[in-house]
Amino acid sequence: MDADWTLIGNLFLRDLGYWWLIIPSILLGYIVGAIPGFSAANTIIILLPITFAMKPEMALVFMVALYCSSRMGAGIPAILVNIPGTAGAAATPLDGYPMVQQGRGNQALAISFTSSVIGGLITTVVALAIMPWLGEVTQIMHSVEMIVVMLFGISLIATIASKDPLKGLIAGFFGLMLGAIGADVVYSTPRGTFGLLELYDGVPLIPALVGLFAVSEAFLMIEGESILTRRGMELMKEAGWRETWEGVTITLQRWWHVVWTSIIGLIIGVVPGAGAGIAAFVAYQQSKTYSKTPEKYGTGHPEGLIAPESANNGVTSGTLVPMLVIGVPGGATAAIMMVVMQYHGVILGPALFIRNPEYAFAPFVTSLVTYMLMLLTVLPLARYMSKVTVVSTVYMAPVVIAFTLVGSFVPRDYLFDMGLALIFGVIGYVARKTGYHTAAILIGVLLGPLLENYFLRALRISEGDITVLFSSTVGNVLWVLLVISVATPYLIDWRRRAQAAA
């Protein structure tokens, strides 16, 4: 399973030759990533006949390029209009959107693109180099360890709530209760579903995301001529290549920040079922915790944008690891890739490295080439994409409502989900008008059901013994790190006050 660098070099040259396939796939990925409800997984399903007709290595190149670029595409509307295309981009607007309102949309996009590409490149190289050890992460991260990882993400609620802790916690726990809607995982008892069959599987994530962010945003944005502040409008009209380059420079100056937040994404991505949403929130929380300027987070701070964007691209590499090493897909897109490869007679799993080593390393090499081509294709677009923010809200608000509502229909083909998105929109509007953070509600909806699943699984294995939560060495190390991570901001704050008072 050790990396064969000659083979990897040959694969790299081969993939460069596929630029004509990778570039259109990248552009398609930007589009499907940017529209809520659409995703790389949906798109590959739609285009399955094409992937079946392609040669296996071409199908793999197409799927990996689409996968990588859709992750970046999801960040574009999250930054420009506060609408995350996927759950993985849900932490992106926390600092990306305030930058846009200040007229720094061009710079924000450049930061997002650069940190996504560098994060993706780094994690791809790391994954290639240490794939066997990463494969072992899949083996040691059981339900107990995952409970602690979830709590890392959920503790962001407290971080977000720093301005008004009581309201922040209420928003977070309200989200956790909404996330608990649906049949329980053991006996399928319907809970809090209002008798609606559509809610038996729980609250679907895309309608919640669309409602809390996009629909509520549309109802609020009509308060102004544009989503920009007056000063922001002036800056945006003058924005050009200089701002794009500034964004690149800002990211490069924080290269270490990109490295460690993308590694968080890689490690979380390796765990099957964890997902980019968790990784982005955990990375944001960690970034703020260990920042020298935590008070700047949420106001348009570059590091608050770098962290989630690097992390969610790290997840892309991470989800491929268990698929290749143990034959268990790390996420929906990886699962569909696996089906396509099996159709072509390529069986993924430990034997892959002996039987078809070219397919074992190919996804990472393709990721590498894709990220390099992405930077070349997307950076020049930043200054043009950011101009969307000067469009009058008279036109923007209706378009946002119409296209995000239909986006919420796509994952399940239920009209019910459009209504649900509108209900979440009203909740989001009330929350934002009265000082509750919609991101805290979303964290609850996103992580609540996962936490419950892992918690119940741990309790079932231990036959109801709660001490199972402290039964593993890795888990205990994570518990200690969690306590340190939660306590650190308070300790730093306490020390600063003590120093100021002295």
């Binding site: 809090g192 119409a402 000082g435």
Partner: protein, 170 residues
């Protein structure tokens, strides 16, 4: 727009609006509890834990706000929700149009409903000005959406007269 906090309404802060989310949280949690009373413990444990904390936090906030009102430090009012007041009719019209969009799309189909929604919403928000431009933009967006979602991605949006006609033509 960024999250807004309840600010001073006149001389005293208004606290009515910020009690809506806690009140909704309490009501929903009580309803949720009522659906799991006879369920096995595995279905209850998470909800009782999370729900109890939510109720406690919500009651604490409501209690603090009620105390502020009783001390005449704040007033109960929901004006923060409707600010700016001049936009209330437009906002309600936009909400009504969005509700209408969801109901009509199942009969009129994606393209026609999207066109009607966009044209009406843009006209409402622009106070009836630039009608021609609004209709033109609505048509462009609706047709672009149809080409992208229905033709290119094959999304199974509800079909209506327009989709049926285009299916015949294509």
């Amino acid at each position: 727009m960024s999250d807004k906090t309840t600010s001073a309404s006149g001389k005293k802060p208004s606290v009515g609006g910020e009690m809506i989310i806690p009140a909704a949280g309490i009501l929903f949690t009580l309803y949720y509890f009522s659906t799991i009373l006879d369920s096995p413990w595995t279905a209850q444990v998470n909800a009782f834990f999370v729900g109890s904390i939510l109720i406690a936090l919500s009651l604490l906030l409501i209690g603090l706000r009620v105390r502020a009102v009783m001390r005449r430090e704040a007033v109960v009012s929901f004006t923060e929700l409707a600010k700016p007041a001049a936009l209330v009719p437009k906002r309600l019209a936009l909400l009504a149009l969005a509700i209408g969009y969801i109901f009509i799309i199942q009969w009129a189909g994606f393209t026609l409903t999207t066109f009607l929604f966009l044209a009406c919403a843009m006209t409402v928000l622009s106070s009836g000005r630039r009608l021609g431009l609004n209709v033109l933009l609505a048509a462009v967006f609706a047709l672009s959406g149809w080409m992208l979602f229905v033709v290119a991605f094959g999304t199974r949006f509800p079909a209506g007269p327009f989709e049926a006609l285009m299916a015949q033509v294509m």
